[in-house]
């Protein structure tokens, strides 16, 4: 039987595969980077959902709250988000320079131009 209790992991897997598919199938570099982002976000969601405890609150001690979610995976993802942002920024800045140098950001056109460069 299909277990709906784990639907969050199905979402993660779907996003991951969708992201990877975009990276592989699109030749536009900006679209590739978007795919890469979706791929990274799926892993971030994976961590977030594994730290969540059903019925748990934020781990701040207060009266009336007994169950807390695990904050550690969430904190780890702060770092992973920063890494993702840095990667995207670097990738986009390289794409800008590629656009200046090749006048295109389509990977297949770049490949053709590269082959033309070969002496």
């Amino acid at each position: 039987m299909f277990d709906w209790g784990l639907y969050n992991y199905w979402v993660v897997i779907f996003l991951m595969m969708a992201g990877l598919y975009v990276v592989i199938s699109r030749s536009n570099l900006v679209k590739k980077i978007i795919g890469l982002n979706v791929f990274q976000v799926s892993v971030i969601m994976f961590y977030i959902s594994m730290g969540k405890v059903r019925g748990g609150t934020a781990p701040i001690e207060a009266e009336g709250f007994e169950i807390y979610s695990n904050p550690l995976p969430h904190v780890l993802m702060l770092t992973a988000i920063v890494v993702g942002v840095a990667t995207t920024a670097l990738a986009l800045s390289i794409v800008v320079r590629i656009h200046e140098a090749y006048d295109t950001i389509e990977e297949d056109e770049i490949r053709l131009l590269d082959e033309g460069d070969e002496p």
Partner: protein, 500 residues
């Protein structure tokens, strides 16, 4: 007072290995001057190398070093944990960093506008921070963070190449590398789900208790795929030839000797220290997969190398083949095989960075690294070409060079485990290496320079010195093997759980 101070500093050596280059990178940016930035980077790189030597000596005499960052004890805090394996990797990484940096200014001046040099040195130090961090840390998530620090800075370094193809190579590497890094992150997350810890030692204890459930196996598969991309294991190597060919010459010399080596270390660490032999090779049969890919890499990489016209690209494909040797050592799962793999990590770093520095010399004088540029170079640049020949012999595996030492252990390991066809493939791949090195030697020594070739002199001392230091080391460690092989066999025994 001073003794006390020294004592404090000595205890903090593992942490300084990360903190100092990280801070110095920002100093380079503040300095904004080419010379000042280079001096800062040089001081830090050589100090890190010295530091790594001190750490290795301490590990050899006192055993594993465990350092609790910020005083938070493992498994809650982040632990830096150094044993004989990562002490050796740290030594070679920082050593290559320092030596290549020494050669950097002249070669960089040719390929990167001078106004940008200070940024290159800053990013170079960041890359070194990431690589050293990955090596010393005992925390799985920390490995991911340092991996991304080193990867991001290496993409930036590669994109500094003088042609526009450097840009397309950098973005190709960025996409592949990010996918690899994310797979590693996913794998670490799954282990965390099962064990509830990020500390490597704690993880391995908990995983041993859990046994082979599906989440653990998928985690291992994710980490193996992720590191295989960073390692450029055939057929996930497609980013490597372009990245190495179009990056600035010194950046190639640096990355070829360090980035893939540290990725190999991470693979070793996860497979042996975290998951353990039973899980990785019993439940998942990773050894069969890796051995197959390693053998393909050795043959395919060498064959493709033979047909390259650009010698820098040829050496890049040869790297793919040499990575095959290292992974082969891992997949043999025996003391001799693993020793061979680890020694080859050390040895290949020396010879490949030496060879890529030779490429930097040739590029500086002739303006090209294509095969035609080598015509008559045996007469025109005798000292440079002699370095190429010595390092090339080492790549082939001639006795009295480091290449022979690692191949000897690999062949011994293969025969011990009864895989004699593997030993044959090692020899075949060595013969292929002979062919591609010979092509260059023939053109350089037996073909006269073209009539209209401009008069060129020998490469400057600032480049020749570091080149010969590395090439000399390939001969030195080929004859005096006690340091490299001694530490490597120690590390191999430790990984296989046989403490001496």
């Amino acid at each position: 007072m001073i003794d006390h101070l020294i004592e404090i500093v000595v205890d903090d050596l593992p942490a300084l290995q990360i903190a100092v280059p990280l801070l110095a990178a920002t100093l380079c940016i503040i300095a904004r001057r080419r010379r000042t930035a280079w001096v800062i980077a040089m001081v830090v790189a050589w100090a890190s190398f010295l530091n790594a030597m001190l750490i290795l000596r301490r590990v050899m005499t006192e055993g594993t070093i465990s350092y609790a960052e910020g005083g938070w004890r493992a498994p809650w805090g982040i632990e830096l944990r150094i044993d004989s394996l990562n002490a050796l990797v740290l030594l070679i990484v920082t050593g290559i960093c320092a030596i290549v940096l020494t050669a950097a200014p002249r070669s960089l001046a040719q390929e990167v506008p001078r106004s940008k040099h200070y940024i290159v040195y800053a990013v170079y130090l960041l890359c070194m921070t990431g690589l050293a961090g990955m090596t010393v840390t005992g925390d799985a998530f920390n490995i991911f963070v340092f991996l991304e620090i080193s990867s991001l800075s290496s993409y930036a370094l590669i994109s500094q190449g003088s042609t526009r193809r450097a840009l397309s190579s950098a973005i190709q590497y960025l996409i592949m590398g990010t996918i690899g890094g994310t797979f590693i992150l996913l794998g670490i997350g799954m282990i965390y789900m099962v064990t509830g810890t990020l500390n490597i030692v704690d993880m391995s204890n908990q995983l041993a208790a859990v046994g082979p459930n599906r989440a653990v196996l998928v985690a291992l598969a994710c980490i193996a795929v992720g590191t295989a991309i960073k390692l450029a294991l055939f057929p996930l190597h497609i980013w490597l030839p372009n990245a190495y060919t179009y990056a600035p010459a010194v950046v190639t010399a640096f990355l070829a000797a360090t980035a893939t080596k540290v990725a190999y270390y991470v693979l070793l660490r996860f497979v042996f220290s975290v998951f353990g032999v039973d899980l990785a090779f019993g439940a998942l049969r990773l050894d069969v997969v890796l051995m197959g890919l390693a053998l393909l890499a050795m043959v395919a990489g060498s064959i493709v190398a033979i047909f390259q016209h650009d010698i820098k690209r040829m050496l890049a494909y040869s790297s793919v083949a040499q990575i095959g040797y290292m992974v082969l050592g891992l997949s043999l799962v025996s003391v001799a095989g693993l020793t061979g793999g680890i020694v080859h990590l050390f040895n290949h770093a020396l010879m490949k960075s030496g060879l890529f520095l030779v490429m930097a010399c040739v590029l500086l004088r002739t303006g090209s690294t294509r095969l035609e540029a080598f015509q008559g170079l045996g007469r025109r640049m005798p000292i440079t070409m002699a370095a190429f020949v010595v390092a090339g012999l080492s790549l082939i595996g001639v006795p009295a060079t480091v290449g022979f030492v690692s191949k000897w252990y690999l062949v011994t390991g293969a025969i011990e485990s009864g895989h004699w066809p593997v030993a044959v493939v090692i020899l075949v791949s060595s013969l292929l290496a002979l062919i591609y090195i010979w092509r260059v030697v023939e053109v350089a020594y037996f073909r006269p320079a073209p009539e209209d070739a401009p008069e060129i002199g020998e490469a400057p001392l600032s480049l020749l010195g570091p080149t010969w230091l590395l090439v000399g080391a390939t001969v030195f460690f080929g004859i005096f093997t006690s340091l490299s092989v001694g530490v490597a066999s120690d590390a191999a025994r430790m990984l296989l759980g046989m403490m001496p």
